[in-house]
């Protein structure tokens, strides 16, 4: 069993602060391999989006470093799912409280993968995405956006959604509304597939075909090649005048 990970982030061409936060961890444990790969895309006024995303990433990072080893002794995916859910909801309350106390509105998306040996869990809230790249590219998460909800309800086509001024409006994220319902799913890791997690800034101006062409598991197999290709795609995105911060992380397991 071998895990490979990589991460890249860029402030982009127009923002003054990079509000994205990233956590990529890979560990060898008594029970086998474990990894945490996640992206938080912060948003908010007064440049506090980076605080919301950092807070979520630090919380998960601390959990991985200090708690996971104990939890692995009696590992249960159901309990792990519940624990992630509680953590996200607790962070949501904390960030909302901070916003109220300081008169600012801040929030963040949170999307990631927790892997233990050949199984995985995905957690997701907001409009960052997880893609699986094997013989084709497949989006594993569903955007929590207004336009996506309208498409699902049959009120809007994909083409209309691309032009709609509300296309970036989120229906849920951490730090905005009291009640959140993150998507948490469980599954088996496909050996030799590449998993990509990216912020919306990464994928606004490039197509899924371009992502697959650049990061296909046949081409990109090592940590250094992942990093190089992610950087290449980020430069492409910047050359196309994307206005947002741009972040992406990759994960691959072979067994």
């Amino acid at each position: 069993m071998n895990y490979t990970v990589a991460a890249e982030t860029d402030i982009g061409i127009s923002k003054k602060v990079n509000q994205d936060s990233i956590c990529v961890k890979n560990a060898r444990t008594k029970q086998g391999k474990a990894a945490l790969v996640m992206i938080c895309d912060g948003m908010g006024g007064l440049s506090k989006g980076e605080l919301a995303s950092a807070e979520v990433v630090r919380s998960f990072s601390d959990w991985f470093d200090y708690e996971l080893a104990y939890e692995l002794e009696n590992w249960s995916w159901r309990d792990a799912g519940q624990s992630v859910l509680n953590r996200l909801r607790s962070l949501n309350s904390r960030i909302i409280g901070y916003g109220r106390r300081n008169g600012v509105q801040l929030g963040t998306t949170a999307t990631g993968i927790i892997a233990v040996n050949n199984n995985m869990m995905t957690f997701h809230i907001g409009d960052s995405r997880i893609y699986k790249l094997s013989y084709r590219i497949k989006q594993l998460t569903e955007d929590h956006t207004f336009v996506n909800r309208e498409i699902k309800n049959g009120n809007m086509t994909s083409e209309q959604a691309k032009r709609d001024p509300r296309r970036n409006a989120l229906t849920q994220c951490i730090g905005v509304s009291g009640d959140i319902t993150p998507d948490i799913k469980f599954g088996t890791i496909e050996s030799g597939a590449n998993y990509l997690i990216c912020s919306d800034g990464f994928r606004h101006v490039i197509t899924e075909e371009e992502i697959f062409g650049g990061l296909s598991p046949n081409i990109v197999t090592t940590g250094s090649s992942m990093k190089a290709k992610l950087r290449e795609l980020i430069e492409t995105v910047k050359s196309r005048k994307e206005q947002d911060n741009i972040s992406a992380v990759m994960f691959r397991a072979e067994y």
Partner: protein, 100 residues
């Protein structure tokens, strides 16, 4: 045609009918199963399209609505990294030193 011959033909016909009934029942059951799977796939494409993520054994989004949020960590443990837990990659990128 003798009585014996009629009985043989009747037995063969009966066997043919029974085999047909069994065969068509199996085909119908398989088709029904395939239809159900197709319908479910249309409803939840991200879950049912194998082999990415298998259907969740836990209806997480339902218990999200019912359980309380513990604002304190469930278990207090010493904040010490265990020696049998070896970090191979450790990348944490944040863009502020401020804490909430």
């Amino acid at each position: 045609m003798t009585k014996y011959e009629i009985m043989v033909i009747a037995a063969a016909a009966a066997a043919f009918v029974v085999i047909n009934i069994i065969m068509w029942s199996i085909i119908a059951a398989k088709e029904k199963k395939a239809r159900r799977r197709e319908l479910q796939q249309q409803k939840n494409p991200e879950i049912t399209v194998a082999p990415i993520l298998e259907p969740s054994p836990v209806p997480v989004n339902t218990y999200a609505e019912t359980e309380e949020v513990p604002l304190q960590p469930a278990k207090e443990r010493p904040r010490v990294k265990r020696s049998d837990f070896i970090l191979i990659d450790d990348i944490v990128i944040v863009h502020t030193d401020e804490r909430i």
